[in-house]
């Protein structure tokens, strides 16, 4: 099982990844420019003589410029962010959900319940729980926590959502075509064995998913 960094597994993760790439490039460009400027100044204006330099106190146009330019940059980042947040929210409101999975977190394991209650997967100390998802489908997760706050994080989704005891949360994703097994974990510190709250996410073709569901149903029935 290969659990290194996953590719984006959902359409929403693709959106988030695009924002990440844009913001990362912006940050690196600004960082290189500003740190470069600092390095340049430090070398260019190092003390060469005891001459007192010009005692410049202000330059209003320059000050306005270095206020406006960052303002424009963050306005652009804000816009990019909210176009993507809307896209992520849209699927949450979508009617055409193919599958609803109830996810329950407790100290210190996960339980995944598939519709009609016939299939339940609960992790143990020896068996890491597996969340099986059909490719090319819209999945809604209903989130429950039993004891303390947990957080349902699938790095491949580029998404996590905190889970509060006494309050059901939910979110939806459009699972893509990336067949494979990926990592999932609890991101909110939840006590003694927090680090053991790992799970596996296995994306399978839709046919295989139905077959898997049937097998588990018959196991549960038998």
């Amino acid at each position: 099982m290969n659990l290194t960094v996953a590719p984006p597994l959902t359409d929403q993760a693709d959106d988030i990844e695009r924002v990440w790439n844009a913001v990362l490039v912006a940050a690196i460009v600004v960082g290189v420019l500003v740190v470069g400027l600092v390095c340049y100044i430090v070398m260019r204006y190092r003390r060469r003589s005891s001459t007192l330099p010009r005692q410049l106190r202000e330059n209003i146009p320059v000050e306005i410029a270095y206020t406006i330019v960052p303002l424009l940059i963050v306005a652009a980042l804000f816009t990019v962010t909210f176009v993507s947040v809307r896209a992520i929210d849209d699927v949450a409101d979508a009617e055409d959900t193919d599958l609803v999975v109830d996810v329950t977190a407790f100290q210190w394991q996960w339980r995944f319940e598939y519709p009609d209650g016939a299939v339940t997967i609960t992790g143990t100390d020896d068996v890491i729980p597996e969340l099986v998802l059909p490719a090319s489908s819209t999945v809604r997760f209903e989130l429950h926590a039993v004891d303390v706050i947990h957080s349902f994080w699938i790095p491949g989704f580029r998404f996590k959502r905190d889970m509060f005891p006494g309050r059901t949360g939910s979110f939806s994703v459009d699972v893509g075509e990336e067949i494979g097994t990926y990592a999932g974990l609890c991101a909110e510190f939840c006590g003694l064995d927090h680090h053991k709250m790992d799970f596996a996410v296995r994306v399978v073709p839709a046919d295989d998913f139905e077959r898997w569901l049937d097998e588990r149903r018959s196991e549960a029935g038998a």
């Binding site: 099982m1 290194t4 960094v5 959106d15 988030i16 924002v19 990440w20 990362l24 940050a27 600004v30 500003v34 740190v35 600092v38 100044i41 430090v42 204006y45 190092r46 003390r47 003589s49 001459t51 007192l52 330099p53 010009r54 005692q55 410049l56 106190r57 202000e58 330059n59 000050e63 270095y66 206020t67 303002l71 963050v74 980042l77 804000f78 990019v80 962010t81 909210f82 947040v85 992520i88 706050i149 957080s151 994080w153 790095p155 580029r158 996590k160 959502r161 509060f164 005891p165 006494g166 990592a183 991101a187 510190f189 939840c190 006590g191 003694l192 064995d193 927090h194 680090h195 790992d198």
Partner: protein, 606 residues
């Protein structure tokens, strides 16, 4: 461009030593006995005590960080078990934030505010002593958790219920932690009252608000943020303790309580807290850069305005810590979080503008100020990334956040802290520190710090959650964790030259003189170390650089006081307002406070 050559003999520069006498003329104002130190209400002594105590907590927090990095160097549990690990990272974070970073800001406030505004002490010296001792005992109570059954608190420094509630954390260590934060929070609130009173009421003649050093401005605005934020935390923790011990259910969801309410209260404190930690250190850098660039601070008023904007916005960004709860309004808190980057960027450009065209010397304080600048730019940029909810969905509670917060609250603080120590050490002790050792210290720290924390960005992006005692060997995290742990070793070693430097320096005679750096602000206008009640004499204050104006008083094109004659006339005028002993060789002369000029007419009544 007007440049001024170093003056020939008749154009010589004046020195503060010309006015206050050579080193050793006045006795140090610090206590001489143990009882003196334990009972002092003097702002300088309490400032030194605050600094030493917070550095002790830095050492404790650093040792705990050493345990964390040793444990995480490779997969598996080798050094400590989970329970101990959880206590260790909780107390590491709590010590660093509550007992090291904020109190070192108070050390700066204590020692420097009266000296920089020309006052003899803080407004309420006994309240100040009370604040200090509340802090010491509050801190000790937190550490006592380690010797209780069940160990110290192990719920992270934000103590989210229900995990921090009576069922989630039944041990006594959790109660000690809560009581500790309540005490130190109260201590901070009292200090804030003291700082605001001192700055509004006790400035010397001529020291208008817009002639104050930026450090004083920052400590002033920080204090307002403390008054807004700390009582909210103290209140939330009293509610939490009531849940734990007195049967209330504020935060217990099984009884209709609300865990999310605690998060709102905590972060309403927690985000201003970030700026409460940072602003005093921004102030330090703003003091250091002009001195070693030989330029006035560029855009003083813009800088004050930026600080005001940060203080105002910092009270409305808190929920960006809660983007992944699904229970906060994303656009509002994202907008304010993005916006706060603008005044923060303005500050960076103020510092750059000050150095631009300057004459930069690389004395130790300046080295560390530049180190601060680079670290701060890196932390600021990841801060902008984390203002985006879209990215927080992935990055929140990951090692990316750990990297970010160690850049903004660890790196910037530690670099600015050493800028402060190297800068004011001659003022506090009358002795210089070795430049060579300081340079070694700087480069080791620069390499060690970035090695330790930069790679954490990669870990977070790859999916490593914060606050984990262990990770699986299959996760691909081994390489960066090992690099980070090696960086921690370098970072630890970097403190050695500093310790050697301090020990060496304290064995030298106190010959630094009043103003060894050719600095700007008033603390350099008194002897090193300053005498009791700080000043026997003050120069006229006609800009934010009274000591610069003194040094260049015979160069009216750069000195805000005009000509030497004008400087002298202003000095005579101002000294009539000062309830001080004028400086003479004989310290027993009568004060001149009995001959104050009439406030309206300027006429002298005797």
């Amino acid at each position: 461009m007007t440049t001024i050559e170093r003056p020939d003999e008749d154009q010589r520069l004046y020195s503060v030593d010309d006015f206050v006498g050579p080193p050793g003329t006045l006795p140090s104002g610090l206590p001489r006995t143990l009882v003196g130190w334990l009972t002092t209400t003097d702002h300088k002594a309490l400032g030194v005590l605050y600094a030493i105590t917070s550095l002790v907590f830095l050492a404790i927090g650093g040792a705990l960080a050493g345990i964390i990095r040793t444990e995480l160097a490779e997969p598996g549990l080798q050094v400590v078990d989970e329970a101990t690990y959880n206590s260790v990272f909780t107390i590491h974070g709590s010590v660093m934030v509550y007992l090291f970073a904020v109190p070192f800001g108070f050390a700066l406030a204590n020692y420097l505010i009266p000296l920089q505004i020309g006052a003899p002490d803080l407004a309420f010296p006994r309240l100040n002593a009370l604040s200090y001792w509340l802090y010491v005992f509050g801190g000790a109570i937190m550490l006592l958790g380690f010797v209780t059954d069940g160990g110290a608190a192990g719920f992270g420094w934000f103590a989210y219920p229900p995990l921090s509630g009576p069922i989630g954390s039944p041990g006594l260590g959790a109660d000690l932690w809560i009581v500790s934060i309540i005490l130190t929070g109260t201590s901070g609130t009292l200090t804030a009252v003291n700082v605001i009173s001192t700055i509004t009421m006790m400035r010397a003649p001529g020291m208008t608000m817009f002639r104050m050093p930026i450090l004083c401005w920052n400590l002033f605005l920080t204090s307002f943020m403390v008054l807004l934020a700390f009582p909210v935390l103290t209140g939330a923790l009293i509610m939490l303790e009531a849940d734990r011990r007195f049967g209330t259910d504020f935060f217990d969801p099984t009884q209709g309580g609300s865990p999310i309410l605690y998060q709102h209260l905590f972060w309403f404190f927690g985000h201003p807290e970030v700026y409460i930690v940072a602003l005093p250190f921004f102030g330090v850098v703003t003091e250091v850069i002009p001195v070693f660039s030989r330029r006035p601070i560029f855009g003083y008023k813009g800088l004050v305005l930026a600080t005001l904007t940060i203080a105002a916005l910092s009270t409305s960004v808190w929920a960006h810590h809660m983007f992944v709860t699904g229970q906060v309004v994303l656009p509002f808190f994202a907008a304010t979080s993005f916006l706060i980057a603008v005044p923060t960027g303005v500050k960076v450009f103020n510092w750059i503008g000050t150095m631009w065209g300057g004459s930069i010397s690389f004395e130790p304080p300046m080295l560390f100020a530049i180190g601060f600048l680079v670290t701060f730019i890196a932390g600021g940029l990841t801060g902008v990334m984390l203002a985006s909810p879209t990215l927080d969905f992935h990055l929140s509670d990951s090692y990316f956040v750990v990297a970010h917060l160690h850049y903004v609250m660890g790196g910037t603080v530690i670099f600015a802290l050493f800028a402060a120590i190297y800068f004011w050490w001659p003022k506090v002790t009358g002795r210089m520190l070795s430049k060579r050792l300081a340079t070694v210290h700087f480069w080791l720290m620069m390499v060690g710090f970035n090695l330790t924390f930069f790679v954490m960005h990669f870990l977070g992006r790859d999916g490593m959650a914060r606050r984990v005692a262990d990770y699986e060997p299959v996760d691909g995290f081994e390489r960066w964790n090992l690099v980070s742990s090696i960086g921690m070793v370098v970072l630890t070693v970097s403190f050695l030259p500093f310790v050697v430097n301090v020990v060496w320096s304290l064995r030298q005679p106190p010959t630094a003189g009043a103003d060894p750096w050719e600095a700007n602000s008033l603390e350099w206008a008194t002897s090193s170390p300053p005498p009791e009640h700080n000043f026997t004499w003050l120069p006229p204050i006609r800009s934010e650089r009274p000591v610069f104006d003194l040094r260049w008083m015979n160069h009216e094109d750069v000195s805000a006081t005009g000509t030497t004659e004008a400087w002298t006339a202003r000095s005579d005028h101002d000294s009539r307002w000062l309830p001080l002993h004028p400086f003479t060789d004989d310290h027993d002369v009568e004060p001149r406070a009995d001959s104050r000029p009439d406030a309206d007419t300027g006429a002298t009544t005797t």
